[in-house]
């Protein structure tokens, strides 16, 4: 498989296996006192990813998709809950803090916001030289030589003009160049770049991306490029991994993914990019809603509540029913007040479950409303996932077909986690 190429191959720079990074939610003082579990955020949930030397791999997804956490895990900046991160022959997940610091000579990070990444009270020379100092270069003259070389490499020349400048004296593009200089000054092998151009003006983005390509060429770097912007990923990356709610939903060579996007999420991300061409319009049938709460991800496929291609086996559940009823009231405003008294409160549906009990105004009435909703939009895929609707008290219980979260499977030249593609493995 292209994304897990010969697992034992010696030429793999990084090999991430079944990596999970979970964060425990801190509840209130009382619940902590009583040892109540306030839940966990599965920021990264069972991800496999490998990097060959010299490769540029993009991690693409919306905020909350886990792409930044995955990137930080590659530097050991967040602890792995499960799984392994092999950098050549060392497992980062097992290393002590001390050893991790040594690893960061090899793996460096470029942060999104150059204003936040640079200390306002350090000059350019101090900021870039600090990395050398931390890693044990004692001689000031050597440090200066290293800084000068790094600054020249990122195009901040004449260097004398910049050495004594403070971040406030620099433009956004220049600051990002300083951040890049600091990242390359230790001569790393792998650079994790977390949205390196998204804070910059359109007119300089291309320039910084070009610089990064030049650096990669000159210094034999390998990149992990984290972004929400598919357009730059398309230009910049050899392979991309599309992430959604902590999982990789599609991964493969950039060309193949952009020529034939398979996962509905990938398709949606691509369709949503507005082109500066007034003849090309963004389609109107884009996914509804937003990336859900990672503490309580949707059952089944995490993308199904927003998916324009969802089918019966996607894992429909109680919260989807709530959304559907609310959308119905958006269209049928006149019916809202009357139907609301029959349906009653919907808040309890927020607890994820494959069986949902709703209604307080009589089973028959609730059934009638649900039937009406179904007639309104018979193509709504939620209905195909309904196993049964049974009377329960003065309402009904809707049972949904349970479904697992789809695993990555091969489809053409890529791997995709979607039930629309038959699982050949």
């Amino acid at each position: 498989m292209p994304t897990k190429p010969d697992t034992e191959a010696p030429d793999l720079l990084v090999d991430v296996r079944d990596l999970s990074v979970h964060f425990a939610l801190r509840g209130g003082t009382l619940s902590r006192l009583f040892g109540r579990d306030s839940g966990t955020i599965r920021a990264v949930d069972g991800v496999n990813l490998s990097l060959r030397p010299g490769e540029v791999v993009g991690l693409v997804g919306e905020s909350g998709s886990g792409k930044s956490t995955l990137g930080r895990a590659l530097l050991g900046l967040v602890p792995a809950t499960e799984g392994s991160i092999r950098l050549r022959d060392q497992d980062l997940a097992q290393l002590s803090r001390r050893r991790l610091r040594q690893i960061r000579r090899v793996v460096q990070m470029v942060f999104q916001d150059p204003n936040a990444a640079l200390n306002p009270s350090m000059t350019v020379e101090e900021a870039v030289g600090d990395a050398l100092r931390v890693h044990g270069m004692k001689s000031a003259a050597e440090r200066r030589a290293g800084v000068v070389d790094a600054l020249e490499r990122v195009g901040l020349s004449p260097v004398e003009l910049f050495l004594s400048k403070y971040p406030r004296d620099l433009s956004g593009g220049q600051k990002q160049r300083v951040v890049l200089a600091r990242a390359i000054v230790l001569n790393p092998t792998l650079l994790v770049a977390d949205e390196p151009v998204s804070m910059l003006d359109m007119s300089v983005r291309a320039k910084i991306l070009q610089l990064m390509l030049d650096l990669k060429h000159d210094l034999d770097l390998t990149y992990v490029y984290i972004t929400h912007d598919l357009a730059t990923a398309k230009y910049f990356c050899d392979r991309v991994a599309i992430m959604y709610l902590g999982r990789v939903v599609e991964i493969g060579p950039t060309e193949e993914i952009f020529a034939h996007p398979r996962h509905p999420y990938t398709k949606a991300l691509m369709a949503a990019i507005p082109e500066p061409d007034p003849d090309k319009m963004v389609p109107r049938d884009l996914p509804r809603g937003e990336i859900p709460d990672a503490a309580q991800p949707p059952l089944g496929c995490a993308f199904h509540p927003r998916c324009p291609e969802a089918v019966s086996g996607c894992g429909w559940e109680s919260r989807d029913l709530r959304t559907l009823v609310e959308e119905h009231w958006l269209r049928e405003t006149a019916a809202y007040d009357e139907e609301r008294t029959v349906i009653g409160d919907l808040a309890h549906l927020d607890a994820p479950s494959t069986s949902a009990t709703i209604g307080s105004g009589g089973s028959a009435q609730v059934r009638a409303i649900l039937e009406g909703m179904k007639a309104e939009d018979p193509d709504e895929p939620l209905w195909s996932g309904v196993q049964s609707i049974e009377d329960a008290g003065s309402g009904v219980t809707v049972s949904f077909e349970p479904a697992p979260s789809p695993a990555l499977r091969r489809a053409g030249g890529v791997e995709v986690a979607c039930v629309l593609y038959p699982d050949e493995g």
Binding site: V204, L209, K234, P274, D277, R306, T333, R340
Partner: protein
Amino acid sequence: MTMDLSDETVAAASAREPVISARDVRVWYGTTRGAIRAVDGVSFDLAPGETLGLVGESGCGKSTLGRGLMGLLPEGAKRDGEVLFRGRDIFTLSRKASYQLRGRELGMIFQEPLTRLNPLMRISQHFEETIKQHEHGLSKDEIRDRALEVLRLMGIPPTRYKSYPHEFSGGMRQRLMIALALVLRPAFVVADEPTTALDVLVEAQIVQILNDLRRNFQTSLLLITHNVGIVAEACDRVAVMYAGRIVEQGTVAEVFKHPQHPYTRELLRSTISLTTTGLNFIPGAPPDLVDPPDGCRFHPRCPSAMNVCASKNPVDIERPGGGRVECWLVGPEDQIPPGGKQPLKQEELTVADEA
């Protein structure tokens, strides 16, 4: 959509008249180094129900222009020029009169919705406050009906009317802000980078809502953005701003297909989209607006600069294909001095001048 009678009469009478007519608008900030001329002689018209996109790099004066029109400039800023709103110059109104106009007739949508909503107030209270401020004597039920109607058009279900801002996601909050700006049915709305803080799919949803504004509300919109893709998506006309001036304006189709000003062309070329096959960028950075370059302000960065560009201010002329443009490449020929069309010898721009 029902409008009350007075609005309808006004709308009918002014159907052809621009809602906003700005002439030679200037805004400057006083600093110890001298005045920053953030907006320096801007003129445009906005027809009823029309969306005008205002694009340019950071620091070109887009946001200042938007706030200047609203009268929301910080202390120490001065504005000048004439902005006719339905025939009345809003720059000369008294504080009280402009206070009454804002919200009722002139709406504003900001970038960060969470900082504009009161975390201690329910959504219903936000609407009650907004509506009561400008329309007295409405009952709670009437307010609720009006609010729910606007919320419905924004895709927010009626079950959420009593919720607090923190119970909404980022995209929902931006919808709330738009609903709050529109519930009073203002004739003119300024939206300042309304989608910049949002994810790409949510951004597309909001852009579609803005796109539907003209159909649902007959509102004229000034959409400030740095994203030319959004302009292509949501705007009828576009004004390209550089260093405090509008250098080119016209219909989106015309300007984006046949950009006349080199800045417009370079801005479009530097945008990275799915159809991008090469990386292009504009060298240098926008100038210091305390002391902008002589002649055309873009000439130090312009790949097509001529001798005349460095010495003589370009003239605002009719654009071939409609609209306005300020560039000596387009003309007028008879005002270019002899030898003025020779390519300009430019100093090379280095990273030291980069944006």
